[in-house]
Amino acid sequence: MEKYDVAIIGGGSAGLAALKRLSTLGKQAVLFEAGEKIGSKNISGGILYSKKPKKGKTHNVEDIYENFLTDKPYERRITKYVLHATSKDKVFSIDLTAAHEYEANFGCSVLMNKLNQWFLQQAQEAAEKQGGGIVSGVHVKDIRWEAGQTIVQTNELDEVAVKAIIAADGVNSEIAYMTGARQKFSPSQLYQGVKVVVKLPEGIMNERFSMGEDEGAAHLFAGDVTLDHIGGGFLYTNRDTLSVGAVYHLDSLLETPVEPYELVNALLRNPMVSDLIRDEVPVRGEIDKNLAKEEQMRIRFAVTKMIKTWTEMREAYHSKSERDRLVREGKYASPEEMEAQLSSIRDQMTTKYGMKFETDYVEAEYSAKLVPDGKRCRMERPYFKNILFSGDAAGRGIFVGPRIEGLNVGIDDAVRAADAVARALDKDNFDESYLGQYYSQSVGESPYTHDLKSIDKDYLKIFLDAAKDVPKDIINSKYGMVVKMMSSKTLRSFAVGFANILGYEKILPVIETVETYVKVPTELAERLGKSVSASYTPTIPSIAQRVAKLKFNDDSIPHIRVLKPTSEFMKKMTILCPTRCYLMEKNGVMIQHEGCVECGTCAEETEWSHPRGEKGINYQFG
């Protein structure tokens, strides 16, 4: 049997950071990723932060990857952060940029496929030097302890023996389930996030959001776009795409089920969002049915090709860096020449092929994922024997008011795990008391853990300052007292202190309610909001069309088995599955796993695992 020092399971941001760190420390580690390639199963909202907490130290992305700030594998630095309360066509906005910048070096929007590919390059090079590396398309199916060895079994390769394992296999951590390190997270501990990536040429985006090349905007939404659920919507600017998504408490969705994509659709239909994502879209003209079949076919192909050429060229033209590159490489003499060619193609499309250009939006990818609410579900002891759990696998997502962080938490955890493992390797001691407990303590000391346990009164103040124009009478009697108390400095200190003693978890049900996410914002928008009108109605694709656009490598063996086809929970899956994999049949619900994006929404009452290596969903943006 082959032997390696460390196995890292899962090639997301956490797993890759662990590999990079271990390799930098001169340790040998092999990372197993189930997806066809690194990044193919990862999605995020997403914003990646770099933090500078007042107390303690976080391991930030730029500390682990020296080239992060020069290579810029991210999309945009988020320089504007706004919360919008919505009600029909009315929007009331609160600038929360100060909250976004609180204790932060920076926060940047990211697309996981691209970002993790970059992490891969950095980590792989370092790992190879230590005799380790990355193996993708491999699904770990079992771990066992035998004769003092830890043996990792996969569906694809021969078994290997390792000394320690870092499990970074995400919110639906199979490693956690198979070892019994923790229970599956329950709906009350989870959020379900659904996102669409919308295309928009770079230059047009810069103009529309009034931002420069390395500036970006993040918009959060609450109010009627929630369709009365606890959670909210977001819109982040990437380089030449937008991430538009909805994140909701899973138990809130279970209480009053609504199709997850309808929550995104509600956001897309909001006039403000519609207007932000609008673009010019070519529409095919009717082809004369009287023409010969071959001629009809030829026209269809020609039109397809023209749309492709026009779209690609337009994207390049509206990107300063691409435009400069094409001119530098001599493809075009000048930007003006590009513009002229672009408009000549456009003319041809309209005059020769009867095409029209309409205002609409362009959706590129639909995705879904579960997000652990770290306040409620973080593992108190994130280890089991010689396995350390990091990031989503350990349930460590931060949701505090408008503060949403996961990637940086995972990276910080992973570095702590790598350091703990390196220390254990040096002493050749992998006992729980030496490895696991040390890691657990290190994670406990992380500023992120602190933020998950208690309210930060300074952060709260920023939030309250931003909302100071909100008329007090909107916040009804239930909150009036609280707000009044929180607005006064001395009382706030006292109240926060009291709340923290009482226990953060205990007061969450009072804060995270329909009242705060839906009613108050809706009323705010109605009374104070500005009317916004969109110049068009977006053509929103059906869920079938969205799924059809995704790339899958179907596994012939189902990876999900329904256990209780007639349970109330499973019946709700016919609505809550983001890709409509569940159908109601005579004998209860039935799953069609072909369109499964492996989000894990149904995991609670199913036998759930990821598909075998290389199989399943293969995201292109992430």
Binding site: Y4, V135, L157, D158, V160
Partner: protein, 292 residues
């Protein structure tokens, strides 16, 4: 223990994949319009050589007889195999060669490659010629043990032997897999069904490493590339080109088209209507079927 040296002989062939191939009005191949690529069987042979690299760190030399444009095919071969040496045997007097004259050039070329070859791989056949003779003839000229239809192989670098599985097609009856062991060197014509398997973590890591190296090398492939003419490989002029070819293709006839017996019907309408019509059709034909 000496390193394993493997060679691959490959062929530049028209790209027969859909959309890339172009025909003359009389139905023959329009060679000028059709792009040329690494033949699909040659690609399998290159993959088989790459397996030896991943498992044993073998040195790979790839050779081809062809026009100067074949260099881009060699570049592609390097990209998929991380080849250490690329050889193009190109000379006007090679023109008109049949399989035997081609084998003569390849034999002379292989003898000019760096190092003594332990294994020479060839594809099963070409997709344009389809004779499947060049490989065996080259083996014969080199005086090497020939193993055809190989679907799997393992090298023992210690004893310098090879164990290979051969797919023997007993036409019309059944297929058998024959396992043979032979001392190196051998000549292998790889079967189209060959698929390399990398079952261990170390192989997968080596695979990644060589793939990455291959991307670097292929970007700068000229550094690994050698162009030889007839004189440089010391090929006997009597045995190459037209004069070395005992066979000649004097006519290619089209295979007459069989009469189609299937009937096609185009169904129009909205998606809903189309599905309804198709289901109705299926019902109809199923009702006439007797299910035993």
């Amino acid at each position: 223990m000496d390193a394993i040296n493997v060679a691959v002989i490959v062929k530049l062939e028209p790209d027969f994949s859909e959309g890339n191939v172009s025909y003359n009005p009389d139905g023959t191949l329009n060679r000028a319009e059709t792009k040329n690529i690494l033949g699909p069987h040659s690609a399998i042979a290159v993959n088989a050589a790459f397996y030896a690299k991943v498992k044993h760190g073998a040195r790979i030399s790839i050779g081809t007889m062809g026009p100067p444009v074949a260099e881009s095919m060699l570049q592609y071969s390097q990209l998929i195999s991380d080849a250490d040496e690329l050889y193009l045997y190109s000379d006007r007097i090679f023109a008109g060669a049949d399989t035997l004259a081609t084998a003569e050039v390849l034999k002379s070329g292989i003898l000019k490659m760096q190092g003594k070859m332990d294994i020479v791989f060839s594809g099963h056949r070409a997709s344009d010629g389809e004779t499947g003779q060049t490989g065996p003839q080259t083996a014969w000229k080199l005086g090497m043990t020939f193993l055809g239809n190989v679907i799997d192989y393992e090298i023992d670098p210690e004893s310098r032997t090879i164990r290979a599985k051969r797919l023997v097609r007993l036409q019309g009856i059944y297929d058998v897999v024959e396992e043979v062991e032979a001392p190196l060197p051998v000549f292998i014509a790889i079967d189209p069904s060959y698929k390399p398997k990398f079952n261990t973590v170390s192989q997968r890591l080596a695979y990644e490493k060589y793939q990455k190296e291959a991307r670097h090398r292929a970007q700068d492939f000229k550094q690994y590339f050698k162009l030889f003419n007839a004189a440089q490989i010391e090929a006997d002029p009597k045995l190459i080109g037209i004069s070395g070819s005992p066979t000649i293709v004097y006519k290619v006839e089209r295979i007459p088209k069989g009469k189609a017996t299937r009937q096609a019907e185009i169904i129009d309408g909205s998606d809903q209507e189309q599905i309804r019509k198709i289901v109705a059709k299926m019902r109809q034909s199923l009702s006439t079927m007797v299910i035993k």
